[in-house]
Structures are given as structure tokens and as C-alpha cells.
Amino acid sequence: MSPVVKTVNLVKIYQDGAVPVPAVRGVDLQVEPGEFVAIMGPSGSGKSTLVHMLGGLDARTSGEIWLDGKRVDTLSESAWALLRRKKIGFVFQFFNLVANMTVGDNVELPALLAGASPKVARERRESLLAALNLTDRADAAPAQLSGGEQQRVALARALANEPSLLLADEPTGNLDSRNTRDVLRLLSEVHKQGQTIVMVTHDARVASLADRLVSLFDGEIVDDGRIARRRTRTAGEVIDLR
């Protein structure tokens, strides 16, 4: 089975005036289908940039990105946009719900964009909101929702186009502990249903939910390993250090 996403020597250098600022310096990463990868690292380690590049929000400076067995780093901005409709779901730290649209419309929008009929989009939105316990908030404006609720809506929206890859950039960075727990529970449920997830976080407890942890420092992978599960896995499994 081909990996969902693969990067080869991925580099991103920002140009700040005349001074080049390297953000990502040669990252090789491979994510298998159904994997839940957490990317950790201190501020400025390049983890958000990496995720943005994986979703095509930011252009790479050099290196390769492969998505579902196809090379995508050479795509134009528009081709990336069309690709995102079908294959990628994003969850951002600040929820980024479209402020003027109702919760329901926010969730339906990606499904419509992916080519679903209005009827199918509506069904999808209803099942997603029901799963996230938000059915009664469908007609509310995002601003009327609490942070946790907004992030749950953002999660529903990211899943509405049934993406092969869910990218989450600090999804709990702006939430209190209770809401963090809720969102994480949802992420892990989605993961259990087979969703491939790449999540950026700087919170070790959040990262512990994933089954693989990639540590980034100064734009390079310094650590990449599977997380042992006390309950789900047998003891003594070898931790794969690279």
C-alpha cells in the first residue's frame, strides 16, 4: 500500500528582506494510511510550515511531496486548490470558521466544493453534526459558539469532503482542558474509523494520543517514533528510533 503522504528532502526558506530564513530543512516523512502522526517541537521549529506545505497552503522551496502516490509539489496554486477539495481537510488553531455563514453552511461548504449534490452535502452535514453532538447548533452563527464547539464544527468541516488526509495545526492550542479533551476524543474516534491524521502540537499530552510522534527542531526531524500503548499494545514492543 502506498503511503498517503511522503516528503523527500523537503525545504522551505522564507525570504525576510535580503536574509534567507530556513524554516524547514530537508524533511523526509512518510505517513501510511490510517496512521495518526503528531508533530511536536518548540515555537519556530517549522512544524506549522511543514503541515501547510503538506496541504499546499505554502509553496516548498525544494524537495518533493507525494500525495496518494502522486507527486504534488510541482502543482500550481489552482491545482493544489482542486486537490484540497477532494483529499485534504484542515483544522486550524483559531477554528477559522467563515464568520458570516451558519454552522451548517460551514460544514456543507467543503462537501459542495468536493462535488456532492446539495442533498448529499446536507445528509453528510447532519450525520457529522450529530456525531459531534452539534445538531441543535446548525443554524447558529460561529460567533455564538464556545471555543470547543467552534473547533468541533471546524473538525466536522474538515471531514465533510471525506479527505484522505486530515491536517490539524494546533487544534487544541486555543482551548481549555475540558474542550481539549472533547476535541481529542473526537480526533481519536475519527482515527479509529481509519482516518489518516497529521497533527501539529506542542503539548505532549495531546501528542500522546497519536500512534507516532515526530519531533522537529530547527526545521529538521530529530526524533520519529511509535508511541507505545500501555493498554492496546503488548509490553516490550521495540520502540523504533531513527
Binding site: S48, H52, G55, G56, L57, D58, E77, S78, A81, L82, L83, R84, R85, K86, F90, F92, Q93, F94, N96, L97, V98, A99, N100, M101, T102, D105, E108, L109, P110, L112, L113, A114, G115, A116, P118, R157, N161, D169, N174
Partner: protein, 755 residues
């Protein structure tokens, strides 16, 4: 398809979130388009009622007035296909509701002629079984308030009264509309005219010539002048009739066109500003849309569709409104499709161009939603540093700094307010000019408030009665005659009034007043018509007698498109000047013309015919309605700009509010900061706009006066008081509008989140 569906959702949601602003945009564009269409229709030739009236009545192209029935074969002139008449016509006065109006009673047969037959609009045509019937020309009937069956009381030159009854009201292309064209026109049977005015010497004969080629009217009338020699009284062609009918339409059309075109620029700016501001305020949402899979082009199209649709809706509503108004006023056929299509196409393009740039910029939003769209920060502007230096309160310093952080929107806001304000100032200038007509009628040639015709009395008695009244300051004897201009083959008005040594005080705008016999002053229209300039000599023919005068000055002349020559009575041959036709009465300051008129009528036992002068401002009062409507549309445009500025200002401050409060600014100070930011731009825009308006208004009105024949020298800028009030109202309203959101923002609990 999928993009359409998703985009449609987004547009709908966004419009719902800013209904007020959207409605304002639509209304502003609609108002401008309606003004433009109205202007084009009024200026378009086909709206001139002459064209359809002439077609309906198979109108004549040249009208010839002679002292007696012409003995020469006018129908034999080359190019003449048919003739109407000659009809006998007698001057009478119509007494209606206490008013006396001049009319000419024309004898017409019971079977309407083939050429220049009046078209009966109401009632019936003349019938021998009802010899006391009269058919009145429609504009004259409307002015007198006449209906079918109403009595029509006429007073003949020798003072006899006759009562006829209105049997019909008819349209005619024989002459212009009453009261612009006097005397009014009424038709009776020849038998009745013989009974009313048996004296042939007091009547004239009217002959209409229909030509194969209307353009040949000049040649034909020249020929008629030669043939008729001194039997000819006056002659005019269809061009004068058409010009008389379009007089006010042209003025209104020009005014609307001026406001419409400048308003379109302002509306396009407002639209660009609103779309740009909205896009700037939505960068995060746009980025989110991109992260969901909208491409750059789709996003730009989406924005273009949303903002463009508002403009296009405005264009559509404006077109319907403009068309509706014109159809209601002038009839459905009056709106010419080509200029309307051009206006619709042009404004639609302007709208799309205006929103195109912000839409394109919106499409280029980077797709990373976290990227903050903060205003460019940096040093305090020079103005802000100045504010700091003079130790203004901190809120004002911050506001001053904020006003110019975004240079382009700041410029657009100030400019977007300056343009409507300039036009409003011009509108107020037009208003002031009309007021000036009313307050100082002597400046538009109406030094005399009353005109007394001897009527039943002897002229000497009339003069004595008039000069004895306690409120009459001066009595000027006068006579209006028609003169043939050389080479023009048409008549112009010669007004002989006062004497050369104590002349009637005409408002001379250039040159000087006439001071001796053989000198004259003329209106701009006459100078243009005959290609004259001050200092030239001109030779006219008055009833066969030559009148040679030197033009020594130009007067402001609101009558007859300025095609009037004014001389002293002594410059005219005695046969035309004695006795004077009327006496113009200049009243003492503060005297009420109606009171004086009442006294004169009483002292002469209703023997005198006393008329009050009609001020041109009364005739142009519809302009005031137009000005108010245009000011409303311009205010909408200004308001749209203001809302954009205010929304943008607030958005830029969402970050700062918490910080400002944390620094210790009270909600009131925060509010002051926000209001200062917008208010400074408002004051700048309104001030510049008002100054620009004042500097051009007099010139514009004078230019319009020059082209319309009245002549330069009538333009007035709005009074300083009006201007100050207008500026204060504009700034005050603007601040009040900016205050509401600022107040709400200052009071709100500001969440400390990054946007």
C-alpha cells in the same frame, strides 16, 4: 457546478451579514443611473415634444404673420408643398380667475385643414351649431386651468367683453408652449371672430407653409420676406418652435447629466472602496475558503460576482426607475433605447471595473488563514507627531495616527466624501442662484414688478394712475415689437423701454448701458444668433422701418433664450413707439406688487390691465426638486463611503482595543480614538469638497447661462452661512454615524484573541 453552489452559499451569507451596506450601494448606484437616464432622455432630441406634435398635426415648417391677407402666392415658393391658412387672428386678453392672460384668437374652419390641423385631445373640434365654442391649445388651457365646458371670457383691444365656451382642448405644433411662448393660442370659427373683433385693422393674418425639406425653411422664409416686403409682420420657423419647447428640458437635462456623470465617478469610487474594505475585512475568511479548495481565479470571480451583482442590481433598478419617471412624464415612447443601452452598458462596465481590482486582490490572498492582516504599522505620521507636540489628548493622537495608517483607503475615503460634497455645494449654488433671482429680480432684468397695459383707458390716464400710486418708484413706458434680423429670416424681439437718457436699469454684465438714441444692449442669445459682439452695428427691420443701432453692452436676459434686443423707446420709429404698449412699474423697496396691482385695478375701475412679472426662478422651481433628490443620492454615496471607512477602522482596531484598555484608556477615550480616526478623514474630505465646489460653482452656472442664451453673470455661490451649515451637517452626520459602531466597540468586552 460545485463551485457555483458553494460560492452561492458564501455570497448569500455575506450579503445577509451586511444588508444595510448592500442596500446603500444598490440605492446609490440606482439613483445615479436614474439621473443619467433622465438626463439623456431630456437631452435627447426625440423627447422634444415638437417632433411628435409636428408629426401628429402635419405641422407647417414656416409661419408667416402679415398685416392683411397675403396677395402673393406663398404656396408657389419653391419647396413649399402645402399651405395652411391664411387665417385671421386677433389679439385678445383672456380673463380667468382674476388673472388676465394674452391670447391670440385664430379663425379656423369647422373642417380641420390638411396641414397644421390641431389634434383634439379632449372634447370636440369647432362646430357651426355651437358658434360660441372655442378650442384652446393644451398648454394654454392647462395654464389657465380650463376644462371642457368652462366659460372663456375674452376682452378685445377696445375693451369689450365676450364669453365663449371651451368645447375642445387641442395639441398644436404651431407655436411653443404657454407661458414660455406668448400669447396663448385659441381657435374660433371665422364667424365668431368677425363678431368679436370686426375691425380688420386690429388683426393679422397667419399663413403656415409645409415644406418638402424642413431644412430648407431658411431659404423659403427668406423668399417670403422678399415677396411680402413691408406687409410682413414677423416670421418664424419650426426651429424656433422646437427650441421653445425644449428650453427647460435642456437646462434640467444638463444639470442632471452633470450630477449624473460626477455622481457615477463618486459611486464607482464608493463601490471600489466598499468592496476593497470588505475584502480587507474578510482576508481570513477568504484564506479559509482557499484552504478548502477555492482557486485564486474562483475567489476573484466570487468577489466580482458578489460586489458586481450589487452594482448591477442598482443599474437595473435605476434603469427601471429612470425609464418609469420619463415614461410617466413624457410618455412611454419618449425614452430612446440607444442612449439608455449605452448608459446601462457604461455604468455596468464602470461598476465591474470598480469592484474588479479589489476582487482581484482578494483572489490573491495567501491561503494560510493564520497570516494576520494587520494594518501596516510604523512611525507616527507627521500629523500625529504634530498632534503629540501640541499636547492633544492621547485618544486624539492615536486617532490621528490611525487615520492614515492605510494610505489608499484613507485617500479613497477622503476623496469619496469630497466628490459628493463638491456636487452638493454646486447644487446649493444653483439653489442660491435661484434664490438670488427671487430676491433681486432686477439682476435678471426684472427691475419692474408690474406691467400696466392701458386696456380700456387712454395711455395717458394709465401713466398718470400708475405714477400717482404711493408705492410706485418709477414708470417706464415700453413697447415690445418683432423685428426681422438681416439674413436670418426670422423675427427677434426688440424691447423698447424707458428712454435713452433715463434708461430702464437693465442688468448690464458686459460693456455699458445705452446712453443715447441709436444705442442698444442685447442678450447673449441675440449676440450668438446674429454673430455680433459688443461695439457692432446691427440693422433690423421693424414693420418695414429699418432700425439701426449699435450694441454697447450685454444684459442678463432670461426671456426668449436671450434673443432680445433692448433699446430706449426713442430709438424706435414714432409709429411703433407712440402710444407705448405698456408701462413698466418699478416699485419702492418693500412694496407688495399684488397690493399695488389691487390698488391700480380699483382706481381704474378694472379699466387697466395689470400683470405681475413672472420671475424665471418660478418657472425653474422644478430644479429645486431635482437638487434635493440629487443631494439625497450624493448623501447616500457619502454614507456608503463612511460605513466602509468606519468598518475598516474598527477592524484594524480589534487588536488594539484590549491593549488600549489595558494601557488605561477609558471606554470614552477608546471611542474618541476610533471616531477621530474616521472623523479626520471626514473633515478633510468634506472641507476639500466644499472648497472645490465653491471654486467652480459660479463658473459652471455662468457657463450654462452663456450656452442657454441668458448670458454669464447669473451664477452665485452658496452663502457662507449655507456652506458652513452644510459642512457642519455633513461632518456632524458623519461623526454620528461613526460614533455608533465605535461606541459599541468601546463598550464591548474585547476577547484577547489573535485574528
Amino acid at each position: 457546478m460545485s463551485t457555483l453552489l458553494a460560492g452561492g452559499r458564501w455570497i448569500r451569507a455575506d450579503l445577509r451579514a451586511r444588508t444595510g451596506q448592500a442596500v446603500l450601494t444598490v440605492l446609490a448606484v440606482a439613483g445615479i443611473v436614474a439621473a443619467l437616464i433622465t438626463a439623456a432622455t431630456l437631452l435627447e432630441d426625440s423627447t422634444n415634444p415638437w417632433r411628435s406634435l409636428s408629426a401628429q398635426t402635419d405641422g407647417a415648417h414656416v409661419w408667416i404673420y402679415t398685416k392683411d391677407s397675403p396677395q402673393v402666392p406663398l404656396g408657389g415658393i419653391d419647396g413649399v408643398t402645402q399651405t395652411a391658412g391664411p387665417y385671421r387672428s386677433a389679439p385678445v386678453t383672456v380673463a380667468q380667475n382674476g388673472k388676465k392672460e394674452p391670447a391670440s384668437l385664430r379663425a379656423m374652419p369647422a373642417t380641420p385643414p390638411a396641414v397644421a390641423h390641431p389634434v383634439v385631445a379632449e372634447g370636440r373640434w369647432l362646430d357651426p351649431s355651437q358658434p360660441d365654442g372655442v378650442v384652446v391649445e393644451r398648454s394654454f388651457a392647462r395654464s389657465l386651468g380650463l376644462r371642457i365646458g368652462a366659460p372663456f371670457t375674452i376682452i378685445t383691444i377696445n375693451g369689450e367683453r365676450h364669453t365663449l365656451y371651451v368645447r375642445g382642448i387641442a395639441d398644436s405644433a404651431d407655436q411653443g408652449f404657454y407661458p414660455e411662448w406668448t400669447p396663448g393660442l385659441a381657435y374660433v370659427l371665422p364667424l365668431m371672430l368677425d363678431r368679436v373683433e370686426p375691425m380688420l385693422g386690429r388683426s393679422e393674418w397667419v399663413t403656415g407653409l409645409r415644406l418638402a425639406d424642413p431644412e430648407a425653411s431658411q431659404v423659403v422664409s427668406q423668399r417670403a420676406v422678399v415677396l411680402l416686403e413691408d406687409r410682413l409682420q414677423r416670421v418664424y420657423t419650426w426651429r424656433e418652435v422646437r427650441a421653445a419647447m425644449e428650453l427647460d428640458n435642456r437646462l434640467l437635462g444638463t444639470l442632471l447629466a452633470l450630477f449624473g456623470v460626477v455622481g457615477l465617478v463618486a459611486a464607482a469610487l464608493a463601490l471600489a472602496n466598499a468592496a476593497g474594505g470588505r475584502v480587507l475585512g474578510q482576508l481570513r475568511d477568504l484564506a479559509t475558503l482557499k484552504s478548502m479548495g477555492f482557486t485564486r481565479g474562483q475567489l476573484a470571480l466570487l468577489l466580482l460576482a458578489e460586489h458586481g451583482a450589487l452594482g448591477l442590481l442598482g443599474v437595473a433598478i435605476g434603469t427601471l426607475a429612470g425609464w418609469g419617471v420619463m415614461a410617466a412624464m413624457l410618455g412611454a415612447a419618449s425614452v430612446a433605447p440607444v442612449p439608455v443601452l449605452a448608459i446601462v452598458g457604461g455604468t455596468a462596465l464602470a461598476v465591474l471595473a470598480a469592484v474588479g481590482v479589489p476582487a482581484w486582490r482578494g483572489g490573491r490572498t495567501p491561503p494560510i488563514p493564520a497570516a494576520p492582516a494587520a494594518p501596516p504599522r510604523g512611525h507616527l505620521s507627521r500629523l500625529a507627531r504634530l498632534a503629540l507636540l501640541v499636547r492633544l489628548p492621547p485618544a486624539l493622537v492615536l486617532g490621528t495616527r490611525d487615520a492614515f495608517t492605510r494610505r489608499v483607503p484613507a485617500f479613497l475615503t477622503a476623496f469619496g466624501l469630497a466628490v459628493p460634497m463638491m456636487m452638493i455645494t454646486i447644487g446649493l449654488g444653483v439653489w442660491a442662484t435661484l434664490d438670488n433671482f427671487l430676491a433681486h429680480p432686477e439682476q435678471v432684468g426684472q427691475h419692474a414688478a408690474l406691467y400696466v397695459k392701458p386696456g380700456k383707458e387712454e395711455p395717458a390716464v394709465a401713466e398718470r394712475l400708475a405714477s400717482q400710486d404711493k408705492d410706485v418708484a418709477e414708470v417706464y413706458p415700453g413697447t415690445d415689437v418683432n423685428a426681422l434680423a438681416p439674413g436670418e429670416a426670422r423675427s427677434v424681439r426688440v424691447r423698447a423701454i424707458g428712454s435713452s437718457t433715463s434708461p430702464y436699469p437693465f442688468p448690464v454684465a458686459e460693456g455699458r448701458m445705452y446712453a443715447r438714441q441709436g444705442e442698444a444692449v442685447a442678450g447673449q442669445g441675440l449676440l450668438d444668433l446674429l454673430g455680433l459682439k459688443i461695439g457692432d452695428r446691427v440693422r433690423l427691420t421693424v414693420g418695414g422701418t429699418p432700425l439701426i443701432v449699435r450694441i454697447v453692452g450685454r444684459t442678463v436676459e432670461p426671456e426668449q433664450d436671450g434673443e432680445v434686443l433692448s433699446v430706449g423707446l426713442d430709438s424706435l420709429a414714432a409709429k411703433d413707439a407712440v402710444p407705448p404698449e405698456y408701462y413698466a412699474l418699478a416699485l419702492k423697496p418693500g412694496a407688495d406688487p399684488q397690493e399695488v396691482r389691487g390698488r391700480l385695478l380699483a382706481s381704474s375701475q378694472e379699466g387697466l390691465d395689470v400683470q405681475a412679472a413672472v420671475n424665471p426662478a418660478d418657472r425653474l422651481s422644478v430644479i429645486r426638486v431635482v437638487i434635493v433628490a440629487l443631494i439625497a443620492v450624493l448623501a447616500l454615496i457619502g454614507l456608503a463611503n463612511l460605513l466602509t471607512a468606519s468598518a475598516l477602522g474598527l477592524r484594524d482596531h480589534a487588536f488594539d482595543l484590549a491593549v488600549l484598555k489595558a494601557m488605561g484608556l477609558t471606554p470614552r477615550q477608546v471611542m474618541a480614538t476610533l471616531v477621530t480616526g474616521t472623523g479626520l478623514l471626514v473633515v478633510l474630505g468634506v472641507g476639500v469638497g466644499a472648497a472645490a465646489g465653491v471654486s467652480v460653482v459660479t463658473g459652471l452656472i455662468d457657463w450654462q447661462g452663456h450656452t442657454s442664451g441668458v448670458g454669464a453673470g447669473i451664477g452665485r455661490a452658496p452663502s457662507p452661512l449655507t456652506l458652513v451649515v452644510a459642512v457642519l451637517v455633513a461632518v456632524g452626520t458623519a461623526l454620528a454615524v461613526a460614533l455608533i459602531p465605535a461606541r459599541r466597540a468601546a463598550r464591548a468586552q474585547v476577547p484577547v484573541t489573535s485574528r
